[in-house]
């Protein structure tokens, strides 16, 4: 697919299921400097628990806060040390390797300007780039593109933004033309969705609850027995959000995005979204559900690096989520909607190997509203820094069009090599 991108028809691109952006616009200034930068945004929907992904193992209140659910350097599955204070979830060895090679950066205790706790509104603020939800139906990445002039025939796929997924995420939607590509495999029904439905059935419809439980039981047996669940199977069984399916989907979607971005005539800016991070019950940061998801994400990042090939050196991938989760564990071994979290940056263009944080602390009085990790870095400063130094979007456009109302939020300098 990658080698033939220039001959791919629009129809083929639209047939797939991830969302990559094929741009009609190319970073002109960067080109003038002899660079050919690639930028990919991955939206993690559902609110990633930043403390479970990158743990402040050096904070004296950490173990007290999370107890048995705390990642630790001397745990059964030891966390991967980053800088002496922070450590990475052991499910992410690829990201750890990138970090050690100076190709991954973590920004901690970060948040958008949104301070309520609704997923829908939080995602809207995250992707629209506006301070309030429901204000516009365009995304900051698309508006950033509009500011970058086209320097080639608009018919070429390389002149367009690109999105992977059944629906282009809001972050890339807008006036700049976007090509979308849907991977052949649709995202499986996530465990989250199934468990929520089962919970609803248990409260309102015992017949449906039993029926769904039975099918899930069968699906688990099929998975354990290695039975195939191919689309050609005449007796379709529920996929049940098995982690293998999730891992395959993440890898396929991200890998495809990278192949498009790497192609000589391909798009240069893209976005995709991965669901499933809303871990209210049995979060499983160590060896459980969240660890599995982080592992799948780690695999997706590895796939991006592999498929980018030489272009990896000019690549930045930004992984962002709408908000974080409560500092404390709740009564169901999970975490509820919170505020501060992490942003994870990966790519050969980064000056990485750093955790950037103005650490707020974890004492009760340090927490936002005495419950959430207090955000001390505005996510917009990070994104503005990347757009400015990587794609050469100018300051005026960044403050006026891309992140309106963010004049006071300066682009973070020095993120790139």
């Amino acid at each position: 697919m990658s080698a033939k991108l220039h001959s791919s028809t629009r129809r083929e691109l639209l047939l797939g299921t991830g969302v990559l952006f094929a741009w009609a616009f190319v970073p002109r200034m960067a080109r003038a400097e002899g660079r050919d930068p690639r930028f990919l945004t991955i939206v993690l929907r559902g609110a990633l628990d930043g403390l479970a992904a990158v743990a402040p193992v050096g904070d004296p209140d950490w173990i007290k806060l999370r107890g048995d659910n705390a990642l630790r350097l001397d745990g059964k599955a030891p966390a991967l040390p980053l800088d002496g204070f922070f450590a990475l979830n052991p499910a992410m060895p690829n990201v750890h390797r990138l970090y050690q090679d100076g190709q991954a950066t973590i920004v901690h205790a970060v948040a958008t300007s949104y301070r309520e706790r609704s997923h829908f509104d939080g995602q809207d603020v995250l992707e629209s780039g506006l301070p309030k939800p429901g204000a516009v139906d365009t995304g900051w990445l698309n508006r950033a593109l509009v500011g970058l002039a086209s320097d080639g025939p608009p018919s070429r796929p390389g002149r367009r933004a690109f999105a992977v997924g059944p629906v282009s995420p809001l972050v890339v939607r807008g006036a700049a033309p976007v090509l979308s590509w849907t991977p052949p495999r649709l995202p499986p029904v996530s465990d989250e969705t199934t468990m929520r439905l089962l919970d609803l059935y248990r409260h309102t419809d015992p017949t449906f609850a039993r029926a769904l439980e039975d099918r899930l039981g069968l699906a688990a047996i099929a998975r354990a027995g290695g039975m195939s669940n191919s689309p050609n199977d005449n007796t379709p069984a529920i996929q049940g959000g098995g982690i293998e399916q999730v891992r395959a989907y993440f890898g396929e979607a991200a890998g495809a995005a990278a192949r498009f971005l790497a192609a000589p005539e391909g798009p240069r800016i893209g976005a995709l979204a991965f669901d499933g991070w809303d871990t209210h019950v049995n979060e499983g940061a160590v060896g459980g559900r969240l660890a599995n998801l982080l592992g799948a994400l780690d695999g997706a990042i590895a796939a991006i690096k592999t498929n980018m090939g030489e272009a990896w050196g000019e690549t930045v991938v930004a992984l962002v989520t709408e908000f974080g989760r409560t500092a404390h564990v709740n009564g169901n071994e999970g975490t509820d909607h919170g505020t501060g979290t992490i942003a994870l940056l990966a790519g050969g263009a980064l000056k990485g190997g750093r955790v950037i944080a103005d650490w707020p602390g974890l004492k009760e009085s340090d927490l936002y509203e005495r419950r959430d990790l207090k955000p001390t870095i505005d996510l917009r400063t990070v994104l503005k820094g990347l757009l400015k130094d990587h794609l050469r979007v100018d300051d005026r456009a960044l403050a006026a069009d891309v992140f309106p109302g963010s004049e006071a939020v300066a682009p973070m300098a020095g993120l790139l090599t």
Partner: protein
């Protein structure tokens, strides 16, 4: 004026294809009157905006297409053989000279590969399916379309037997869903699609001219299913002798062969040479041999039999109201059927007016096809028909392809197993469009006051809009009716 939005939402799910935006408010002043008014809509149940042709024409088109392809293949083989032998092949051109060649020559190596064309039967299927799905999407409430689906399943045929399955529904079912049962019965049993599906087209009277000459005989399939499934009901008032005699009555009900009827092939014909020339006795009545009229007389009597009235009343009540419908309701519908000479509009009205039909419990599970329509109505989207039909098949209800002449089951138990597959379908649907929709607004449109507190909370807490939409269409209030 008091408003009854809950009754409105219930009525739209139970008697229609589920609410569209604004539907609940539109019928809240008098849900019962609105449902009854659906029966009075002009051209209700008819497909008007379509370029669909008759079943016979579809049948002939497929025949011609196959014949041309065969000719093309033979020509290619001939060319190949000639090329191998190192000679030109002038007579091939001559052979085809008087015949328009509609298939393009096979692509050479220097030509780009053409996408594989959709086979004609599949094209016909998709066109028919689209027209049917759209009729259900467009209907204000959809009771008449629901009746079409019900009766089409009662008198089911299979696309695997005939390309005319979709046309059959338009020709034999739609015109009669608000008419007389006797008329629908005759239209269905004499339609070429039914004669092919249940083998009557090849049934031959043992002492008919053809039977004697060809030494071939009776096929009881259609006669048995008419008695067992379409009219009296299994284990009622008929015997094996009645089945055999009835089969003899309808010998000669067949179709014109397409091979030598370029203009009328595939249409119904009564072929006297195949007809068993004798009077026959059925359930105590003797029918003289009056040719095709003999079968018509039997069908007319079956249509008015009390066992038929009860069988049909039970099935209607089971489909709309409950797996085990209340006895009083079945009795009332049976009586209405008998009192009105099988007037299906009157029977439907009695069903809609019955107090049992307005019980607040949503006792029935929507069948997959119905549920697919309801999901698209809820969000105002049309959907791609090939994908919709694939999903409907995966959920166990392939359109016009029942696994047996009994049709698809109307028992809840039959559809519980498919719940997990339905969740996958819901997830796919929601992933594709959910990001653009406000789940609470869709819930207001599609469920209104039917939504339980638990469902509302589940939607509000969903981690994404697509997840909320998937949960909404999988909520019990949406799956049931």
């Amino acid at each position: 004026m008091t408003l009854d939005p809950k009754g409105a939402a219930l009525a739209l799910h139970r008697f229609g294809f589920g609410p569209k935006a604004g539907s609940i408010a539109a019928v809240a002043s008098d849900p019962l009157a609105a449902v009854l008014a659906d029966l009075e809509a002009p051209r209700a149940g008819q497909i008007t905006n379509s370029d669909l042709t008759s079943g016979g024409a579809e049948n002939r088109a497929v025949y011609e297409s196959n014949a041309e392809r065969l000719a093309q293949q033979k020509l290619e083989q001939k060319r190949k053989r000639a090329a191998e032998a190192g000679i030109d092949n002038p007579d091939a051109t001559a052979m085809m000279a008087d015949k328009p060649v509609t298939t393009p020559p096979v692509a050479g190596q220097d030509q780009p590969a053409q996408p594989k064309p959709v086979p004609l039967p599949r094209q016909i299927f998709l066109k028919e399916a689209r027209a049917r799905f759209d009729a259900a999407l467009d209907a204000e409430i959809g009771l008449v379309e629901r009746l079409v689906w019900f009766w089409s399943n009662h008198f089911c045929v299979s696309f695997d037997s005939t390309v005319m399955a979709g046309a059959y529904e338009r020709e034999a079912i739609r015109p009669y869903v608000l008419g007389r049962f006797a008329d629908m019965l005759l239209a269905a049993e004499s339609h070429p699609a039914m004669l092919l599906y249940l083998d009557n087209a090849s049934s031959i009277g043992p002492t008919s001219v053809a039977g004697i000459n060809r030494d071939r005989g009776l096929n009881e399939n259609l006669a048995r299913e008419i008695l067992e499934l379409h009219t009296l009901g299994v284990r009622t008032v008929y015997t094996q002798a009645d089945v055999t005699n009835f089969a003899k009555v309808i010998t000669g009900w067949t179709i014109l062969p397409t091979v030598d009827n370029p203009d009328h092939g595939g249409e119904f014909v009564f072929n006297r040479r195949l007809h068993e020339p004798a009077p026959q006795t059925l359930i105590g009545n003797t029918y003289p041999d009056t040719g095709v009229e003999q079968g018509r007389s039997v069908l007319a009597d079956l249509a008015h039999h009390p066992a038929t009235a009860r069988h049909v009343a039970t099935k209607l009540a089971r489909h709309f109201i409950a797996d085990d419908p209340p006895q009083r309701l079945v009795d009332e519908l049976t009586q209405r059927f008998l009192d009105t000479d099988g007037d299906l509009k009157e029977v439907t009205k009695a069903l809609v007016r019955a107090p049992e039909s307005w019980a607040p419990e949503q006792g029935k599970i929507k069948r997959p096809g119905e549920w697919l329509v309801a999901t698209r109505r809820a969000v105002g989207r049309q959907g791609a028909i090939d994908r919709l039909m694939r999903q409907q098949a995966l959920m166990g209800e392939p359109l016009w392809r029942p696994s047996a002449p009994k049709g698809f089951s109307d028992d809840n138990a039959a559809w519980l197993d498919g719940l997990a597959v339905r969740l996958e379908s819901a997830n796919t649907f929601a992933q594709a469009i959910g990001a653009d929709l406000d789940p609470q607004a869709v819930a207001d449109n599609a469920l209104g006051p039917l939504a339980t507190q638990e469902t509302r909370l589940t939607l509000a807490r969903a981690e994404s809009k697509p997840q909320a939409l998937a949960l909404l269409v999988m909520a019990p209030e949406f799956l049931r009716r």
